[in-house]
């Protein structure tokens, strides 16, 4: 134990003081336009506080990974960004989640409008029990993004192409979405999310129910999609965070312990807790 402690980087003893919400170390190659600004965000499930005064800036057109042990609040935080926590009774939220200059928790903010701009992909692939085509076409039609059938066809094809699924399903668009394999279903869910042209895509452990090959496909996809969208992903898999994310936030017991450029986070974490987690001491 003592020998390990001596190898701890000195940064852990005196972590640099970042600006509020900013990563300790900025990746100079990444885009630094602000997408979502979070300040002093706290959340309670009934009496239990699940998020404790979080501050974080999410940058546009990057992949931001949220990591941390189970129950640390990373999925809860993710759901704050498109107000999915509204669906859970007994949740109290305080603090600011700002997007495009607007507080998303404001009374005036329509959660439907918010979810139109902040799409979501869930842990378990959950295509609608409708045809592959309908899965993608439903939301754009509902939001009046397309009116003519030809536009709709075009949009479905584009979304499926962007999700890397078109070649596999172009001959069976009328088959049920649930007939696809797990990895294909998850890509269908991604196509469904990007079909409405959101700004942000939230991914809640999108590969945890998938096999390694499907996981790799989705990871490649995330890398491509970040040219168009801001992606925030929760993951249990630290290698995955290291592979796909530009920034990584480490959550622990409802707090953000460290928010850093991914390379820095994995090569020389600034905090002891993050280092212990990354090196596998707990989690």
């Amino acid at each position: 134990m003592t020998s390990l402690q001596t190898t701890t980087p000195t940064a852990a003893v005196n972590p640099p003081e970042p600006e509020l919400g900013q990563p300790y170390v900025r990746n100079e190659n990444a885009c630094h336009d602000l997408s979502i600004r979070v300040r002093d965000l706290s959340l309670w499930y009934g009496e239990t506080q699940a998020l404790k005064s979080l501050d974080i800036d999410i940058f546009q057109k990057n992949v931001t990974a949220l990591i941390g042990p189970s129950g640390c609040g990373k999925s809860t935080f993710l759901r704050c960004l498109n107000r999915m926590n509204d669906l859970i009774p007994g949740v109290t939220i305080r603090g600011l989640v700002e997007m495009d200059g607007r507080d998303v928790n404001a009374v005036k903010m329509d959660e439907v409008a918010l979810r139109r701009r902040v799409g979501m992909v869930f842990q378990k692939p959950n295509p609608f029990p409708k045809s592959i085509y309908e899965n993608v076409a439903y939301a754009p039609r509902m939001h009046d993004l397309v009116s003519r059938k030809a536009d709709q066809d075009e949009l479905v094809e584009k979304a499926l192409r962007d999700a890397g699924l078109w070649e596999e399903v172009k001959d069976k668009l009328q088959q049920p979405g649930t007939s696809l394999s797990g990895g294909q279903q998850q890509r269908l869910c991604i196509a469904r999310a990007i079909a409405v042209q959101p700004d942000v895509i939230l991914m809640d452990e999108p590969t945890s129910a998938l096999d390694p090959i499907s996981t790799a496909t989705i990871e490649d996809l995330m890398d491509k999609l970040k040219q168009q969208f801001t992606i925030i992903t929760v993951t249990h898999n630290m290698q995955q965070a290291a592979r796909v994310a530009d920034y990584t936030a480490f959550f622990h017991l409802g707090e953000i312990i460290e928010y850093n450029d991914t390379q820095m986070m994995f090569s020389s974490p600034a905090t002891k807790k993050a280092e212990d987690y990354i090196t596998g001491r707990y989690g």
């Binding site: 498109n82 999915m84 669906l87 009774p89 439907v112 409008a113 979810r115 139109r116 799409g119 979501m120 992909v121 869930f122 378990k124 959950n126 295509p127 609608f128 029990p129 439903y138 939301a139 509902m142 939001h143 649930t178 869910c189 469904r192 999310a193 409405v196």
Partner: protein
């Protein structure tokens, strides 16, 4: 000290014996229930099937002057004794409608008297010895025979058993059920949707929920009293009508539909709701486009079973006056009507022997419709069931 295999086997033998005993007891219970069912069906079929046949007699009709007043004057006196009086009464009317008939003769098959019918079927009959001989003779000549009973399926009730039919009651049942469905289905489904998908989980909704569940267990006759007090006395809905009967049964069916719909809605996985919310559906769009289509088979099954239950209901209809003597098929929702179980109830109380088979025949028709409805429920569920 550890137990040997022999010790354990000895204990196990006792346990195995006990489970074998329980198995036999439960199989016995099932067998007994099955036996009762078979006995019931056999009894109903043996009593009810003869009702689908009726004695007809071939008579010579002479449309003379006297027949304009008294129909029986058109027949030979001994024929008049075995022909149904219901037919005799039709003759003056026939002559009025078609005056050209006067002075002509014709031979035709007409309904026989109920006593002749019972005699032919080997039941107790009031026919005298000479009448029996006359009937026997005519049977040999092919002038009296049992034929398929079209009257039973085309006419309303009558005090003359040979003339009594199930049609008026069947039409009454259909109309009553239409009213019940039109009221109970939309209200029930929307109530369940509100409680399950929209309402906050608080004290008030919990109280509503408990009360709905209790409503399902209320004796049905109380719904009849409610119908009488509110629909007939307060709102002035015509009594004995399919409208008031349907409304009363709708009250009774509502909790069944609400409970079935809530169960169906609850069985739709939340992941579907999350997916729909995630792409920006409003609450109503989530329900209309995603949850309801998935819950529909369950909702339809529950509703059909609730409706079948209402269809077999008699007690509340007694109170709102639907157990009545209805000789004619009712033409509107506000005319007096009766329903199948009420018709069976009425016939069961008639003194004539011939009504026994009518009662059983009515039960067979009711059972056939119930089995048809339940089969529809099963088929609908199988057809629309979707996997996710």
């Amino acid at each position: 000290m550890s137990q040997t295999f022999d010790d354990i086997s000895a204990q196990l033998r006792r346990r195995h014996r006990r489970s074998a005993r329980l198995k036999w007891i439960s199989m016995g219970a099932l067998g007994l229930a099955g036996l009762f069912l078979v006995l019931f069906f056999a009894d109903m079929l043996s009593k009810g099937l003869p009702a689908f046949q009726q004695a007809y007699v071939q008579v010579e009709l002479e449309y003379n002057e006297d027949a304009q007043r008294m129909g029986r004057e058109a027949m030979e006196p001994e024929d008049a004794k075995i022909v149904s009086r219901s037919f005799e009464r039709l003759i003056p009317g026939m002559l009025r409608d078609d005056p050209d008939l006067l002075g002509t003769t014709e031979t035709r098959w007409v309904l026989a008297n109920g006593e002749v019918d019972q005699y032919l079927k080997g039941h107790r009959s009031k026919l005298s010895e000479t009448e029996r001989q006359a009937v026997d003779e005519k049977v040999e000549n092919g002038q009296v025979a049992l034929k398929f009973n079209t009257t039973f399926f085309s006419q309303g009730d009558s005090k003359m058993p040979e003339r009594a039919g199930i049609m008026a009651a069947a039409v009454g049942t259909v109309m009553t059920m239409l009213v019940t469905l039109a009221i109970a289905f939309p209200i029930g489904v929307m109530t369940a949707v509100y409680l399950e998908e929209f309402a906050p989980d608080n004290r008030l909704t919990q109280i509503i929920e408990i009360n709905i569940n209790n409503l399902a267990a209320i004796p049905s006759i109380l719904f009849g009293l409610l119908g009488l007090a509110i629909f007939i006395n307060f709102f002035g809905v015509p009594r004995s009508s399919p409208l008031v009967g349907g409304m009363t049964l709708a009250l009774m069916t509502l909790p069944v539909i609400i409970i079935a719909t809530r169960t169906a809605l609850r069985s739709v996985p939340d992941s579907i709701r999350h997916a729909a919310f995630g792409v920006g559906c409003s609450r109503w769009q989530v329900v209309r486009d995603h949850v309801l289509p998935l819950a529909m088979p369950g909702i339809m099954t529950g509703s059909i079973i609730g409706l079948a239950q209402a269809m077999g209901e008699t007690a509340p209809l007694i109170i709102v006056g639907m157990v009545a003597f209805i000789p004619d098929v009712s033409a509107s929702f506000t005319q007096a009507a009766t329903v199948l179980p009420a018709q069976v109830f009425t016939w069961a109380g008639e003194p004539e022997q011939a009504f026994v088979e009518k009662t059983a025949g009515g039960i067979l028709v009711l059972l056939a419709i119930l089995i048809f409805l339940n089969a529809t429920a099963v088929i609908l569920r199988k057809k629309f069931e979707r996997r996710w």
